[in-house]
């Protein structure tokens, strides 16, 4: 009798033990957004409430090391179940090793309504497979301190000359016009996209994509010359000023403008909750030149191909593609969510979305990170040289074209 009871107990326990993994599944979720941790954890709680038995653990890493950390972990078999991945060339680094779970409309029905451009950003070119749910678009433009502008009676400039005059006025009044520093390499790329997209213009972009021109084109070269001109209004010693210090100059109110990306909005508000922000597209030469911002898709959420909990992972991805998530993402994290139908409580984001109607892609990140040397690395280095008076815009055009010709077919002669 006792023995039978004991056996029953044992069977029940082992049954319970076997069922337990199915009941309580823990997924790990990696990201490079250390700044967004609190909001993600809130969102995760919502998901966990809707899906009992699944818990998600969010871990964030420094952005500059994230790619390396992720690829070494994933390749080492210690990667997370879910992860944020970059887009375009940055995606292919991880996807090409077969480390990501392929996604489609059957797994995640919400994908059917996403914009084709967003989905293309997370699709690997070689097998035309989607590997991540895109989460946000980012825009490179000029962010400014509304209070400073109002105090000095300044308005958004309509032409390049007005832009320069604006900076002059600020300097005369003792305000640093632009907070930007270029010691941190990737900032040299953002200022190109943010400040002179309207100068090289849509015509150049279309011709470049059609293979008719390369970076030696006078429109691009002239844009770089204009970039050099306007850096006269950057802080003293800006070539030695790193990214965090530049942000600090802006949030402390010592500088009026910051040429950078929409991802800065959340950072700035966190560093200084009282700051009033405005955004505008840097103007072209003439008043009727289209005022453009540079746009790109930042990244997506992907699942590990070798995850131990594929169904749970897919459930979470569906949650991340849902409108509920998109709303919180937009409103609490100040991002332009790619989830269709999301509305923006914040009028500033609404402005950003409007500016996005007149945009061209953020050139190097979107199109030129597929081979070595990457267009981004080349441009960053060349712009640093330009700002240190070691090269000219024309030479940069040549350096970019020749460097990219190593792998970019249309440039190969």
């Amino acid at each position: 009798m006792k023995k039978r009871n004991l056996l029953r107990l044992g069977a029940a326990l082992s049954g319970l033990l076997m069922a337990m993994p199915a009941l309580a599944q823990e997924l790990t979720f990696w990201s490079w957004r250390q700044e967004d941790k609190a909001v993600y954890e809130e969102l995760i709680k919502t998901f966990e409430a809707q899906n009992p038995g699944i818990t998600v653990k969010f871990e964030a890493f420094e952005a500059t090391n994230y790619n390396t950390i992720l690829s070494t972990a994933v390749a080492g078999g210690t990667g997370p179940d879910l992860m944020m991945v970059r887009a375009f060339g940055g995606l292919e680094t991880i996807a090409s090793g077969g480390y990501l779970m392929p996604l489609d409309n059957t797994k995640i029905p919400a994908l059917a309504d996403f914009s084709p451009a967003a989905l293309a950003a997370e699709t690997m070119r070689s097998d035309q497979t989607l590997y991540a749910v895109p989460f946000a678009s980012q825009t490179q433009f000029v962010i400014y301190n509304k209070a400073i502008f109002d105090q000095n009676g300044l308005k958004e400039p309509q032409t390049w000359d007005e832009f320069i005059k604006l900076a002059e006025d600020l300097k005369a009044k003792g305000v640093i016009p632009f907070a930007n520093g270029t010691a941190t390499a990737w900032q040299n790329e953002t200022i190109v996209g943010a400040l002179v997209s309207s100068i090289y213009g849509r015509g150049f972009y279309d011709d470049l994509m059609a293979g008719k021109v390369d970076f030696n084109d006078p429109r691009y070269v002239d844009a770089l010359a204009k970039l050099k001109d306007i850096t006269a209004y950057f802080p003293d010693g800006f070539i030695g000023l790193d990214y965090p210090s530049a942000q600090q100059l802006f949030t402390s109110g010592m500088a009026a403008m910051f040429a950078g990306g929409s991802y800065e909005i959340a950072n700035f508000r966190a560093q200084n909750p009282d700051i009033q922000l405005g955004v505008f597209a840097a103007p072209g030469i003439k008043a009727d030149d289209e005022k453009l911002v540079a746009i790109y898709f930042d990244g997506g959420y992907a699942a590990n191909a070798k995850t131990a909990h594929p169904e749970a992972a897919v459930k979470f991805l569906n949650f991340l593609a849902s409108k509920d998530f998109g709303q919180v993402f937009a409103n609490k994290l100040n991002n332009i969510s790619t989830v269709p139908g999301v509305t923006f409580d914040d009028p500033l984001l609404g402005e950003v979305a409007e500016l996005n109607q007149h945009s061209i892609p953020y050139l190097m990140l979107v199109h030129f990170r597929y081979g070595e040397p990457s267009g981004s690395v080349l441009l960053q280095g060349e712009v640093q040289k330009l700002l240190d008076n070691q090269t000219t815009p024309a030479e940069i055009g040549k350096a970019l074209t020749d460097g990219l010709a190593n792998w970019y077919e249309p440039f190969k002669k």
Partner: protein, 306 residues
């Protein structure tokens, strides 16, 4: 001493030797040999592809963009080596001599000179990065305070000063080491020789150049060789102070950064390439090993002559 026998003692010696040998074999010898082997394959992320012979080596040495990156980085390492030879070993010798004189306070100075050496390179790197900040760093603020404000510049942001800024930081960190090695060498010079010299000449300069310097040759060998190896394997300090790309625009790029970036990838670049990375590692290793051996042999020969 008793000699080896098959039973008992033989087993005992084997038991003593096998564990440590196994460690060295598995975690040093095997990886180094593998590193050589990996360079001959093509890699897809961390998945090994097909055998490609010397392709990776060829790529890294002769095809653009790698070839100019390699030359650029290598050139910087050479510059760093010679600069540190003067700033670290040179000053180290002078300081060792000063300490050797045994003046009051020498003991305190000895402790002080070695203090930076025990700090982690990471701490030194971050500390100097803060000091070199163009607006808020102590260096520029001090220059402005003593009226030399025109000298204040973005030390880490300009190609002309960035590498030297790193070199100075490294010299500060490490000068204590050659100082104490030279000092130990000087202290070993037998008293009789010094007394004999004193009979011959009153010139301190002659004493130092003709007697002390040759007699500390063993210390010099060690210090030169270690500096050579260190200069070409430089990684942590530049990584922390200027980042993986050798900002500004590659002017601080060195072989260590270049290797790590190629093998493990970087924020704005394209995919990582273990094949090219391994080829680089092999080339760096061969260069350092061969030259270090030559250097040591020639310096050793110099020692024996005395």
């Amino acid at each position: 001493m008793p000699s080896l026998r098959l039973t008992g003692r033989g087993m005992w010696i084997t038991a003593l030797l096998v564990p440590p040998l196994a460690f060295v074999a598995m975690f040093i010898v095997y990886p180094i040999i593998s590193a050589f082997a990996y360079a001959f394959f093509d890699w897809n992320g961390l998945a090994r592809g097909e055998f490609v012979g010397l392709d990776n080596f060829y790529k890294v040495l002769f095809t653009e963009p790698y070839a100019s990156w390699t030359r650029n980085a290598f050139g910087h390492n050479v510059l760093v080596f010679f600069a540190l030879m003067v700033l670290q070993n040179g000053i180290g010798f002078i300081l060792a001599y000063c300490l050797w004189r045994g003046l009051p306070g020498a003991r305190f100075h000895r402790v002080a000179v070695f203090l930076p050496v025990v700090l982690s390179t990471i701490i030194v790197g971050y500390l100097f990065k803060l000091f070199y900040h163009p607006l808020f760093g102590v260096v520029n603020i001090s220059l402005k305070a003593i009226g030399l404000g025109f000298l204040a510049q973005p030390w880490l942001g300009q190609a002309s000063t960035a590498l030297w800024a790193l070199i100075v930081a490294n010299a500060w960190h490490m000068v204590g080491f050659p100082t104490l090695v030279f000092l130990a060498g000087m202290q070993r010079i037998p008293g009789e020789i010094l007394d004999a010299v004193r009979m011959e000449t009153e010139s301190e300069w002659t004493k130092v150049t003709k007697i002390v310097w040759p007699l500390v040759a063993p210390s010099a060998t060690v210090v030169f060789t270690l500096l050579f190896v260190g200069a070409f394997n430089w990684f942590e300090l530049p990584y922390v102070m200027v980042g993986l790309d050798g900002s500004p625009y590659g002017s601080t790029d060195v072989l260590g950064l270049y290797f790590y970036r190629t093998a493990f990838g970087n924020q704005s670049s394209a995919a990582q390439d273990f094949g090219a990375g391994s080829a680089l590692a092999v080339l760096i290793f061969l260069f350092v090993a061969v030259l270090a051996s030559i250097l040591t042999t020639r310096l050793r020969a110099r020692e024996i002559q005395i």
